[in-house]
Subunit: 323 residues, 2 copies
């Protein structure tokens, strides 16, 4: 593990190098060199809206203690059936870029430079996809965990998207900016309150809170999905007759939490409310055969939900070069 | 369909542009422009061998008539369950590049400039991965269908890999270069004989036929898998304790032919022999929990085989930026 992490940390610019503009044939990698993965972006259409999934790497999460209400042995059994490692799994991060009507909108912002050494690939992948952070018009945030908001502001304090409006869920804003709640919070939760201050403090007066069922930007409507955090939000993206259910963290890694929607990830603040949100949205997706995306699904993090046994199965889309 | 194909045909250089050498941030795509997909390559390791899956696009295949021994309605039902289109499916092409000991070896060569307009992306993706055709040391061919061999020679007659040894299955060579078999072949099969002459004729004396169970290049051992064609070959790639079963066309699109290994694709020359090869290799992969690759699986075309019901299920690997 350490070796792999070291290698990853040593090539942070790898994906950045995959510019879509370059026309010069590349030299072959030297024998024995650490060759780079393809850039982590994937484009697809939802009606007239061009969606680009942009990967921000992953974090290694120990399986022990990951699921609150299941025996570790049962979790490992599922991982084995899914041909995933049984000791620690890669939990990926994938944000969305929406292009429509000449505007560029992000849904969530990744880890910036504050995440695990195996993350922090977002900007390189975003640029490799041909985008420029100065041209982002809006960022829509699903909830206030660091892996979703830290990409808004570097550790130096620099704002990453200087020209973007920042849209946040109203109940999430109310909770994490409540001084009384921060004072009463257990020690383990206090750093999250402090991080919210760090990220949003300098722009607090300009942040735009949105409610449930609001068309936050054209085509993107908020869907309350509380439990993971108090104001955690999913979305329905719609254009013409096409739609995409953006599930955010309604389920963490689908191999575990789509397959077993009753399982509670340790990241869910209110496990029972999160379970209800998860089952409601998974059931809707399965019934409607809607295309979905998950922030923590294997890249490119989009597919469909099939009802299977007592739970569901995530069926990834087939990769295609035809956008 | 026509619109999508037209768009694809209009941007054949898209993937080529994804050079891994470029360091200049790319300009954002103009509003309304046809944005390009990420380059179609994916790297993974098999022990010390670096494998790069290189996509060559796809062809649209009508579902009607695709499976010899199943009702079209039953085929459509499976496609619906897999959230794939029911009228025509994308059958992708993915070759492998093996890097080991300073040598570059290809397993199959793609369509070159002789395939469907939705194919022909191989060279751009290969270059985007940092490779140069002049530095290919060997090409190992699994069988003599055009989508596997046409990449060796352009329509102009130009050899694409001037410095590469060409390794071919001995029974495949014997069959397709047999003048008596060509004379006796049904009209539908004659173009394949002629294409074999076109591709291999100029280098016939240098082609290196290999038998079953041979280590064709270091780490890559041939495994006879006849039926799809008379000399169709799979491989075991091994390094240290790691291995990859390279299934070639032992099964066409896994959503249909892994799930239902008794189904016969219209491309199989000897359906019963192909079925026996398919079940034998799928059963071995499932029993050993071996990583597999398929030429016609959704990109990046690698995963695992789980026993399920009366057939099997293809479980794709989880994409990772960590090679």
């Amino acid at each position: 593990m350490l070796t792999r992490r070291t290698v990853v940390a040593a090539v942070p610019a790898a994906a950045a190098a995959g510019s879509v503009q370059a026309q010069t044939p590349a030299a072959p990698p030297a024998a024995g060199s650490a060759a780079e993965q393809a850039p982590g972006f994937y484009r697809y259409k939802v009606g007239d809206i061009e969606v680009t999934a942009v990967n921000d790497g992953f974090f290694h999460r120990a399986v022990e203690g990951l699921v609150r209400n299941a025996e570790t042995g049962d979790v490992k059994k599922v991982l084995q059936e899914e041909f995933l490692p049984e000791t620690a799994i890669q939990v990926p991060f994938t944000t969305l870029v929406l292009r429509s009507g000449g505007r560029t909108v992000l849904v969530d912002a990744g880890n910036g430079d504050s995440g695990a050494p195996t993350s922090g690939r977002w900007m390189a992948n975003f640029r490799a996809a041909g985008f420029d952070p100065a041209q982002v018009n809006a960022v829509v945030i699903s909830h206030f965990h660091g892996d979703h908001i830290n990409g808004l502001r570097l550790k130096s304090g620099q704002a990453v998207f200087p020209n973007a409006e920042i849209h946040v869920p109203e109940p999430e804003w109310a909770y994490w900016t409540d001084q009384a709640k921060m004072a009463a919070a257990p020690d383990g939760l206090k750093p999250n309150f402090q991080n919210v201050q760090r990220v949003f403090g300098p722009v607090a007066k300009d942040v735009k809170p949105y409610g449930n069922g609001k068309e936050v930007v054209p085509g993107l409507t908020s869907v309350a999905a509380p439990g993971h955090t108090p104001g955690h939000t999913a979305y329905m993206l719609a254009s013409g007759t096409s739609k995409l259910m953006i599930m955010s963290d309604t389920a963490n890694h689908p191999a575990l939490f789509v397959r077993n929607p009753g399982w509670a990830a340790v990241f869910d603040m209110d496990a029972e409310t999160a379970r209800q949100s998860r089952i409601k949205l998974l059931d809707m997706a399965a019934s409607e055969r809607a295309q979905v995306s998950f922030y923590h699904a294997p890249f490119p993090a989009t597919g469909y939900i099939a009802k299977e046994g007592a739970g569901y199965r995530f069926v990834p889309v087939q990769w295609t070069p035809a956008v």
